[in-house]
């Protein structure tokens, strides 16, 4: 424990005293959140998004004029409840069900829903039965906040740990530690905990700071949110440790880290929803820990999901983290 605490303290001091890196770690997510909030704060989306239950073929048969109307995007759903929840949270402007008696759901407080309702009446008359739902709007900023924070955590965890260990190996510091009684697991665990503490601290500061200006929609428990963020961070730090377990080349490590981070950034739902993408893309996204962390975070913040409801993601992140850490410790070399 004494050795672990010594290495943990030293690494924390190194990070906190590296002013330029610290400022960058703090400033980047602030700037991204505030910048994107300013850019997308208006309802300037050009497309109306309608959830569709029953399929496009049925819609073409039942309501061909609506189906042919431009600037409307139809997104297929099989689960009616999920789709209705999306309307409640303004993630869909309207939901249309053509699997039986034609119906539509609209949120009474959605301006886009109001416009679409007029389009439906104008094109199809009284064909559809009207269903109304209530629910607070999830602004774009509320939607992308978990993605931005998650992405910042991913970069900090992977590059912050991966590059540091490769640098230690390259400049001979790891060799110096190898000459002491310090074990590899103590060293790696100290790196993991150090980065975890710092990234959680930074994330809490960024969240709190941004919340002062933007007032995020937070429906669930902060404790559950912190648990998911902690497990997600541990999982990604473990990936960083695994990548840096042997190499002494910063170029090689950088290449591998980029190869891991870019697909995660694009496919985990950090920047855009995977709704409407191919099924194989959604399946592929499931291999990334960031996907599970962002899904759980959004569910907690936007839908008030409880710990029990995000348990699948909690288990997946725990298992992934344990496997990557174990692999990293097994293949780790001091030199």
């Amino acid at each position: 424990m004494r050795k672990f605490l010594a290495v943990l303290h030293a690494r924390n001091m190194e990070f906190l005293r590296d002013r330029s890196a610290l400022v960058l770690n703090l400033a980047m997510p602030f700037l991204l959140v505030i910048g994107l909030a300013a850019t997308f704060s208006g309802n300037n989306k050009e497309l109306y998004k309608i959830g569709l239950v029953g399929g496009m073929e049925a819609l073409t048969r039942v309501a061909p004029v609506l189906q042919a109307t431009q600037h409307i995007k139809f997104v297929d759903y099989t689960d009616l409840k999920t789709a209705i929840d999306k309307v409640k949270h303004h993630q869909l402007d309207m939901l249309v069900d053509v699997s039986g008696t034609p119906k539509y759901w609209v949120n009474a407080s959605s301006p886009n829903g109001y416009m679409l309702e007029r389009i439906v009446w104008g094109t199809e008359g009284n064909l559809f039965q009207r269903q109304q739902v209530e629910g607070k709007e999830i602004r774009y900023v509320d939607w992308f906040l978990p993605g931005i924070l998650g992405m910042n955590m991913m970069f900090s965890c992977l590059f912050g740990v991966g590059f540091v260990i490769v640098r230690y190996r390259k400049n001979g510091f790891l060799k110096r530690l190898k000459a002491t009684p310090l074990g590899a697991f103590h060293f790696l665990f100290a790196q993991l905990i150090s980065r975890l503490l710092l990234i959680m601290l930074i994330t809490i500061v960024v969240y709190t700071g941004c919340n002062l200006f933007i007032e995020f929609n937070m429906q669930g428990s902060y404790w559950t949110l912190i648990l998911v963020a902690t497990l997600g961070s541990m999982c990604m730090i473990s990936i960083g440790l695994l990548i840096a377990a042997r190499t002494a080349s910063e170029e090689f490590a950088g290449g591998i880290l980029n190869a891991v981070t870019w697909p995660m950034m694009l496919l985990s739902g950090a920047w855009f929803s995977l709704e409407g993408t191919h099924n194989w893309v959604k399946q592929l996204a499931q291999i990334f820990p960031l996907t599970h962390m962002i899904d759980a975070t959004r569910a907690i913040m936007s839908e008030g999901a409880t710990l029990a409801q995000v348990m699948p993601q909690v288990w997946i992140l725990s298992a992934m983290g344990a496997v990557f850490l174990l692999l990293g410790a097994l293949v780790f070399k001091w030199e």
Partner: protein
């Protein structure tokens, strides 16, 4: 004298290279042992196997009669040739970090005094001069009060003052009955510090003993240096052991009086004659050759 560390038939092979070729070594407790050799002779590989950093391809190393293990890590002190420290830490914090990695340690104030670190305790380790940095690295090597200390080229790159200051420090450590294994390229350093030396070349030990023993084995008592222009062709045929040393010709002899007499009788100009003792550097060149290594 009891050996503190022993190597038996030590070998290390890399693809296409035999770095260490079956070395037997036994280092007595309480001495300063110098391991010398040209670049690529295998001395760093040998020392890193002795340190327990690398495993040998074959052969064994024992410390106090036991294979290297956890106890060895606790009881050995190492100063590597190239090393880095945790960045953004002060000298004091670096000492405290390493102090916490061992069970048995020397009190930090004692090390600070021993290695003259008092004036730089609160300085960032990245801002130390070469000499200050080497003193800190020595303090780190001594922090666990080791019985055996490895110093791998500790004064390379230091100015003459800092080097001599470091020698004094090593002598002080040695006076505390510590065993020191030193590698160096500086022959005067080996001569000043080492009780026993081994010269390595091509992965083998080619010569071993006390500096005085080795010099007397390989050379006469003194060397006479005569400028080439003064000697003319008179030296040929005198039956003396003459070595070409560039502008000078060197004559090795243990019978100074007789040699000088023969030179004078044969008309060799001795106005600019110089007489000096043989050094370890002469020995080093003698046993490893002058050819530049690839």
């Amino acid at each position: 004298m009891t050996s503190i560390i022993t190597a038996h038939k030590l070998a290390k092979h890399y693809p296409g290279v035999i770095a260490v070729d079956g070395i037997d070594l036994s280092i007595p407790q309480g001495i300063c042992f110098g391991l010398l050799g040209p670049n690529g002779a295998g001395k760093t590989t040998t020392i890193e196997i002795l340190e327990g950093i690398h495993l040998p391809t074959s052969g064994t190393v024992t410390y106090k009669g036991e294979p290297l293990g956890t106890r060895y890590r606790e009881e050995v002190g190492i100063q590597f040739q190239h090393t880095a420290l945790q960045e953004f830490l002060t000298v004091r914090e670096t000492l405290e970090l390493f102090e916490r990695l061992y069970h048995h340690t020397v009190p930090i104030p004692e090390l600070i005094e021993l290695c003259s670190l008092a004036d730089i305790l609160n300085r960032d380790t990245r801002k130390l001069s070469g000499g200050q940095r080497q003193r800190l690295l020595l303090a780190l090597a001594l922090i666990n009060d080791p019985d055996l200390i490895f110093l791998d080229e500790p004064t390379t790159g230091l100015d003459p003052q800092a080097r001599r200051n470091f020698w004094d420090l090593v002598k002080l450590v040695k006076s505390r009955n510590k065993t020191i294994v030193l590698t160096t390229h500086y022959m005067e350093e080996a001569y000043a510090l080492c009780d026993e030396i081994a010269i390595m070349d091509k992965g083998r030990i080619v010569s071993q003993g006390t500096p005085a023993q080795l010099l007397s084995q390989h050379f006469g008592d003194v060397v006479l240096q005569i400028p080439r222009v003064d000697s003319g062709s008179q030296l040929a045929g005198l039956g003396l052991k003459v070595v070409d040393a560039g502008d000078m010709l060197e004559i090795s002899t243990s019978q100074l009086h007789q040699t000088l007499q023969r030179l004078m009788e044969n008309g060799v100009n001795l106005d600019r004659l110089r007489i000096r003792a043989w050094t370890l550097e002469d020995l080093f060149i003698n046993v490893t050759g002058k050819t530049l290594r690839p």
